[in-house]
């Protein structure tokens, strides 16, 4: 493997990411299943990096799940997206920061559609105006929140308390980067580093001291697939795709998987539990499963935040093995306590804990 080769590819896929003044749109899945991640993103941006990030309480789901399940038509979802742009315009923002990769895919797809089919844009303006009386502008900068973390990865590294290094051996931890399909596979130019060798997550891991694992099924989908997942009878397809990825990465003995897509995070996390329940297969070392982290969670960990404040206990696969390797101090007793110290019920069947 030649690193220069990858650098040459990355050089072809440089992306402009705004520096400040973001209009933030949330992810349905993330705010439900990994609320700590979005919470930490806002905290990091506003409190640590001192950036201006606006979150408008009137924004809605992008309806991507409905769109990809053939429930929401294209014309409708274009109006929904246009409404977000209108909210942004009304608040005086020009840079959009999107938390979800599905949404990011929807936004880029729609923007490209408008670019190539101006009549569609006119139609959307008309639709939105008729429905809501609002008007919108095309945003000047569209970034996924992982792009923004990537942009500030070195600042984060400077503030880091821990590095992605095994405390006992001193060797870098091996991280698998998993990019959501809709991040760059549709429009490689909109992703940091392109679609084949994306840089967005590998850049973070390397900045924070870890080592990238390049395994054969690196490009493969996590197995989410809306239609595959939403219908129970089809979930075998979803599960099998995830299994295929894990089988492929297993020999590389990764210490963690870093994802930038809500679906990937959820499915790589929860399907590991399912497969273990089905036939006892685990993909990590020593009978453990592989922790699946969002980029905010990983950033928070290296910066020394309390894992429980980052919401890591809400995963199916627990991250304690990673904490131990990194030397992170954590209190197991606090894991299921509320902010004011009350004990919550402890979930059963958690793995790795």
């Amino acid at each position: 493997m030649k690193a220069e080769g990858k650098k040459r590819v990355w050089a072809d896929y440089q992306k402009d990411i705004a520096d400040d003044h973001f209009f933030y749109v949330r992810s349905c899945i993330r705010q439900t299943f990994f609320p700590g991640s979005e919470q930490f993103f806002l905290h990091l941006m506003r409190k640590v990096l001192g950036k201006d990030v606006l979150e408008n309480p009137s924004h809605t789901s992008c309806t991507g799940i409905g769109y990809h399940s053939d429930i929401v038509p294209l014309r409708t979802i274009m109006a929904v997206v246009a409404r977000h742009f209108a909210l942004m315009k009304e608040s005086g923002y020009k840079n959009i920061a999107i938390s979800c990769v599905t949404s990011f895919g929807i936004y880029t797809e729609i923007l490209e559609t408008w670019k190539h089919f101006p009549r569609e844009l006119e139609q959307t303006r008309e639709d939105l105006f008729k429905a809501t009386g609002r008007e919108f502008d095309i945003p000047e900068n569209v970034a996924h929140t992982s792009d923004i973390i990537f942009k500030f990865r070195d600042e984060i590294a400077q503030k880091a308390k821990y590095r992605l290094v095994n405390r006992d051996t001193g060797k870098p931890l091996r991280g698998v980067e998993h990019i959501g399909c809709h991040y760059a596979k549709m429009f490689p130019k909109h992703g940091v580093g392109g679609a084949e060798f994306p840089r967005v997550l590998s850049g973070m891991i390397e900045s924070w001291g870890g080592e990238i694992v390049d395994y054969p099924e690196r490009r493969h989908c996590c197995g989410f697939g809306f239609r595959q997942y939403l219908v129970q009878a089809n979930r075998g397809y979803s599960l099998s795709n995830t299994a295929k990825k894990f089988e492929s990465m297993k020999p590389f003995r990764p210490d963690f998987v870093l994802t930038n897509c809500p679906g990937c995070n959820m499915f790589m996390d929860k399907w590991q539990y399912t497969i273990k329940e089905m036939d006892g297969t685990v993909y990590g070392e020593k009978g453990e499963s592989i922790p699946i982290l969002t980029y905010e969670e990983l950033a928070g960990l290296v910066m020394g935040y309390n894992p429980w404040d980052l919401g890591l206990q809400l995963h199916m696969v627990q991250s304690e093995p990673l904490f131990r390797k990194m030397g992170i101090e954590f209190n197991p007793d606090d894991k299921y306590k509320t902010k004011d110290g009350r004990q919550m019920p402890v979930p059963q069947n958690l793995i790795n804990s």
């Binding site: 075998g236 299994a243 295929k244 089905m278």
Partner: protein, 114 residues
């Protein structure tokens, strides 16, 4: 085991390295013309058996070459050896012998397993 209502599916891809390609090797060694097939499908188009059932020598050839024997093992017995395929083959593949050898090889394989 938990009842999830779905299961892990067997991968559909041909795992070339893991497959047993000894049947094809056996045919290559006995009938070298097996190598020059270009998968034109002439044989399948004229096939006497193909009139009655889904039988494509072209398809079976490629499956044997890839070591996907489970599909071929019984299917190959449906050939009537009438020889039309040999007559129409543009590459002069001795298709009848290919089939006869394949049957022999699968029979031997079975005998050894028993």
């Amino acid at each position: 085991m938990e009842k999830f209502g779905f299961t892990l599916l067997k991968a559909r891809f041909i795992d070339y390295d893991a497959n047993d390609r000894s049947i094809a090797e056996f045919i290559y060694s006995k009938e070298p013309s097996f190598r020059v097939c270009i998968e034109c499908g002439c044989c399948a188009a004229t096939c006497t058996t193909g009139k009655y059932t889904r039988f494509s020598l072209r398809e079976l050839n490629i499956l044997m070459k890839r070591g996907e024997n489970s599909l071929v093992r019984n299917k190959i017995r449906e050939c009537m050896l009438c020889g039309k395929c040999t007559l129409v083959c543009p590459r002069g593949v001795n298709t009848r012998n290919v089939i006869a050898l394949a049957r022999e090889a699968y029979r031997k394989e079975q005998d050894n397993a028993v």
